[in-house]
């Protein structure tokens, strides 16, 4: 009989009746073969592996993280409520001590969804990890969280949401943005002025193999996490680094993913991308679940797995080592950089165009942050999309100082111009969300 070394919770929600479109990679069939493998292996029968039915997230759960334009129901389908709910279920089971670790094997994914949501980008509408984390912060008073995003694509949505949060360490490993969607995630993207260094990006060259991923985890990610000392570690467990993935160019494997999981020891893993639905996902998911439960995964191998044929080239190895040094150096220098910026100016502004590939729309944002030395700073976002809506969104962070909170309310209340369709206020100190319709 098998007994899990760590009591492991699973939410398995393959959404067998939901697709972005019939032939889209994010379609009904995506987790079908994973289900077959998981069922045939009898994983849910293993002593210490517990399957949970996903809860649904509430509109309030979503509004704790996002500004949805025009509102939550317009940017979400039922399936999103469930997939975010699946992550939330695992989070609650963990903090209620029903489990020691958990994996939300759900779809649709979420790591490309940013703070302001006008539609779907990178197959994502809402950020399921962030919704879970903010729920846990609100309900269980968790403070420090580390997110390690091992999806092949840069987790730009999660990065955006935690850009100004010094209590959330976000590390993304991904294929170099010069060669893959969304084209971001370079080492110099390190977070906003009040949270410098708690966003870290580790772009990896195409054809990175087991060696490169595991090197990065052991020598860069783990030392930084040990330094940061989070209360919980979340893994955005995308599986599109696999050598057989049709939309990326990496050489990772089921063995590699399982080994990565054993090294990283995430408290919670959440499925993100991964589109090699027959050749990778059944084996990668099996490997991750066994590794989380502390069980032997040495025999989990894809039928066409040949380590020799995907061995990493020396050039790739060198490149990764150099990138690692840059990232470690940035981490060590973060306080110095931060103190220089803090004294420089009262408000920091960034202007961006954000492309939503899935829904084919462009958003324009001007974000203004109060560079505060007492808290991470109140922030407002002037956002419009070519679909027509323009909004002003005010975010007061969870540990906002008195001044920042007052400024936030002033921004919200004083805005009366009908340039904006809506003005939103997210007051995380009171866990409140307000909407003002101006048109």
């Amino acid at each position: 009989m098998l007994h899990a070394k760590y009591k492991t919770g699973l939410v398995f929600f393959p959404a067998f009746d939901w697709a972005i479109s019939p032939t889209h990679p994010e379609r009904e069939e995506r987790l079908l073969y994973t289900q077959d493998q998981v069922f045939e292996e009898g994983l849910f029968d293993i002593d210490g592996i517990i399957e949970f039915k996903p809860d649904l997230v509430t509109i309030e759960d979503v509004q704790r993280v996002h500004f949805c334009v025009p509102d939550v129901c317009n940017v979400m389908t039922e399936s999103h409520f469930i997939s975010a709910g699946g992550a939330k279920t695992i989070g609650m089971a963990l903090l209620d001590r029903k489990i020691e670790r958990g994996f939300a094997l759900v779809r649709p994914p979420g790591h490309h969804a940013m703070r302001v949501v006008h539609g779907a980008r990178g197959f994502c509408n809402i950020n399921i990890e962030a919704i879970m984390i903010e729920f846990l912060r609100q309900t269980y008073n968790i403070k420090k969280v580390a997110i390690v995003d091992t999806d092949c694509h840069h987790g730009d949505g999660t990065q955006d949401i935690y850009w100004h949060d010094p209590n959330t360490l976000f590390i993304s490993l991904h294929q170099d943005g010069r060669t893959l969607y969304p084209g971001s995630g370079f080492t110099n993207e390190m977070g906003g002025p009040t949270a410098i260094g708690t966003t870290l990006n580790i772009p990896l060259p195409p054809q990175t193999s087991e060696e490169g991923f595991l090197y990065t985890i052991e020598n860069i990610v783990l030392p930084i996490i040990n330094d940061f000392k989070p209360e919980i570690i979340i893994n955005s467990a995308g599986q599109d680094n696999h050598f057989s993935d049709p939309i990326t160019n990496m050489n990772f494997s089921a063995q590699g993913y399982a080994h990565l999981t054993r090294l990283l020891k995430p408290d919670i893993a959440v499925l993100e991308g991964g589109y090699s639905i027959e050749g990778a996902l059944p084996y990668v998911n099996l490997g991750i679940i066994l590794a989380m439960a502390g069980l032997d995964y040495s025999r989990v191998k894809e039928p066409n797995y040949d380590p020799a044929s995907i061995r990493q080239k020396t050039k790739v190895t060198e490149w990764i080592k150099q990138t690692g040094e840059v990232v470690l150096n940035n981490w060590q220098q973060k306080e110095k950089i931060k103190s220089e910026i803090l004294n420089a100016k009262e408000f920091d502004e960034r202007k961006r165009n954000i492309y939503y590939d899935t829904d084919n729309l462009i958003e324009t944002q001007i974000e203004t942050l109060r560079v505060c030395s007492d808290c991470s700073g109140v922030l407002k976002i002037d956002s419009s999309s070519d679909r027509g809506f323009r909004i002003l969104a005010v975010h007061i962070p969870r540990k906002a100082c008195k001044d920042c909170k007052e400024i936030g309310y002033r921004w919200y209340e004083s805005e009366k111009s009908d340039r904006y369709d809506f003005v939103f206020l997210q007051d995380r100190t009171e866990d409140q969300y307000r909407v003002k319709k101006l048109k």
Binding site: F12, P22, E40, I82, E278
Partner: protein, 569 residues
């Protein structure tokens, strides 16, 4: 006329039913060391004075295979297991002659690695040397492609008395359970076969040449002939007999909770409009989880004879039974003794009950009346709490589509049917303590035997189609056909019904009783490189467990006024 016989731990209940109702019932003591004599004497007594030709059907529910497994009294089995990538098959080892072998099939049923003929031949030699006659062969994903199991069986052929193949045991995906289930089938095969052949011969000698049906754990029956290949399905048929016996008295428009309160345990099940709820996976025997289809039942260690004691100042009941109630000469006080002390039960040695309860009362520092009420109350409350727990578990089972999660059907029975020895005494109090509308199953004393007698033949078919690869298959039914791209879900459902009908008739069903339903139908477009290349279709259909129509009148009669006379059974 039909005969139903249900062997229990202490006695066997036997009933004779005719169109007019319950003609006769008897109880014979069970001799656990000689079930054959128990069954035969039961059948002999019930048929006394009945012309053999008037009997059209005999249904038996025995503890034969269950006991064999619990007591580990079965012959050695050889297991050959081929896993391919995944969890090490060594961890699913069932017995000493267990041989992992090469060969591999993937989730779509494609052969990844062939079997090694020489390896199988060598294993066969080992098994022969060990004197093994019965072999189980199980490959991972054999329910998607049985070829490797068939190839192995071909090599083993003629060297062994019987070879059981995993894909023929169940259509469900679950390799470890398939291993355990195949093993149990092979293990109980000789004893099952010997037993029922002996029963059949003895009956034939008496001129009784009727088909013998055997009750399964899912509350359905199969003929003895078809049980030869699936003897494992008879394991744990006992709880099913009682549940089937209560069906006639359940509402056909509402859900009911069935409670069978025995001496040692209380068994629970759910009826939805007179159809028992099935366990989606299969029964668990000791540490082994199986694919043996069964009713969703829950058994707790609280019954009329559960031992009552005080631990750390707190009253405890069960789960152990130390013997009869003290009123019947037992060693320790029990809930039954509480009923005696309260004057609810009579015809026993109340003095002994009182004596036992007084010592409990003294420990708790309360009086006899209070302690009796407290014990009875606690027993009822525990039963109700466990029933709620079972209902919650059923309702929290995961689903995999948005539709199912939104429309999520939840079980919420308002009616409770109670049967078993102390049923009438418990019923009132259970109603008082809960929101259930509680009634006692008429004829509760032999409801189990009636349930066995009236249970219809059930079976299940699992069909899988992959139009990209161009086939539809139901390996359990030895069925595979080529199909082209336009094979649809409707075609698959039609095919599944056709196979199901054949299977049910072959296993002893009547055409009148083929209440078939689709349990699962899923269709996926398979997309490769942005083009739809085929469909992946999964269909599961079953004959619902239920009662045979022919004897509807029996149930009507039992629930009628004249039938109520037998309520004191």
């Amino acid at each position: 006329m039909i005969i139903g016989l249900d062997v229990g731990g202490t006695h066997a209940d036997v009933v004779l039913l005719g169109n007019e109702g319950l003609i006769k019932y008897i109880k014979v003591p069970t001799d656990p060391t000689d079930l054959f004599t128990t069954v035969l004497s039961g059948l002999e007594k019930i048929t006394e004075g009945v012309k053999p030709e008037r009997i059209s059907r005999i249904v038996l529910s025995t503890t034969l295979t269950t006991n064999a497994i619990v007591q580990k009294k079965y012959s050695p089995v050889g297991m050959i297991v081929s896993s391919g990538p995944g969890i090490d098959p060594e961890v699913f080892c069932t017995n000493s002659h267990y041989y992992p072998a090469s060969g591999s099939i993937d989730h779509r049923g494609r052969e990844i690695e062939p079997i090694d003929q020489n390896q199988i031949k060598a294993i066969a030699e080992h098994l022969k040397e060990a004197g093994i006659q019965h072999v189980g062969v199980v490959c991972k994903f054999s329910v998607r492609n049985p070829d490797q199991e068939l190839q192995i069986s071909e090599i083993l052929n003629k060297s062994f008395e019987k070879v059981f193949l995993g894909h023929q045991i169940s259509g469900n995906l679950n390799f470890p359970r398939r291993i355990a289930t195949t093993y149990f089938n092979a293990a109980v095969y000789p004893i099952h076969r010997k037993f029922f052949e002996a029963v059949r011969k003895s009956l034939e000698k008496k001129g009784l040449k009727v088909p013998i049906h055997i009750l399964k754990a899912d509350g359905g029956t199969m003929t003895f002939e078809s049980s030869i290949d699936f003897p494992g399905q008879t394991i744990l048929s006992g709880p099913a007999a009682s549940v089937m016996g209560s069906i006639a008295f359940a509402s056909d428009e509402e859900e009911s909770l069935v409670l069978d309160i025995g001496g040692t345990t209380t068994d629970m099940a759910i009826l939805i409009n007179r159809v028992p709820l099935l366990n989606p996976m299969g029964i668990q025997l000791g540490p082994y989880k199986t694919l043996i289809r069964s009713l969703e039942t829950h058994s707790i260690g609280i019954g009329g004879d559960s031992a009552v004691r005080v631990e750390n100042g707190k009253l405890k009941i069960g789960p152990e039974r130390k013997g009869h109630a003290m009123a019947y000469g037992g060693p320790v006080p029990t809930p039954t003794d509480a009923l005696f002390a309260m004057g609810i039960m009579q015809e026993g040695d109340r003095e002994r009950s009182v004596k036992g309860l007084n010592s409990i009362a003294a420990e708790l520092g309360i009086g006899l009346r209070d302690v009796s009420a407290k014990i009875f109350n606690l027993a009822c409350r525990k039963i109700l709490a466990e029933a709620q727990g079972m209902i919650n578990r059923i309702n929290s089972k995961p689903v995999y589509t948005v539709h199912e999660l939104q429309e999520g059907y939840t079980v919420c029975p308002k009616k409770m049917l109670v049967l078993g020895g102390p049923a009438p005494y418990f019923a009132k109090h259970l109603e008082k303590l809960s929101d259930f509308d509680v009634s006692v199953v008429p004829g509760w004393g032999v409801a189990n035997a009636i349930g066995a007698a009236l249970a219809r033949t059930t079976c299940e078919v699992t069909l899988f189609a992959d139009t990209e690869r161009g086939f539809v298959t139901a390996p359990e039914e030895k069925f595979t056909e080529r199909v082209n791209k336009d094979f649809s879900k409707k075609d698959a459902v039609d095919k599944a019904y056709e196979l199901l009908k054949q299977k049910a008739l072959q296993r002893g069903a009547n055409l009148d009783d083929l209440e078939m339903e689709v349990l699962e139908e899923l269709q996926f477009n398979m997309v490769r490189g942005f083009y739809t290349t085929g469909r992946n279709i999964r269909v599961k259909a079953q004959v619902k467990p239920g009662l045979i129509h022919k004897f509807n009148s029996v149930a009507d009669w039992i629930s009628s006024d004249s039938g109520r006379l037998c309520n004191s059974l």
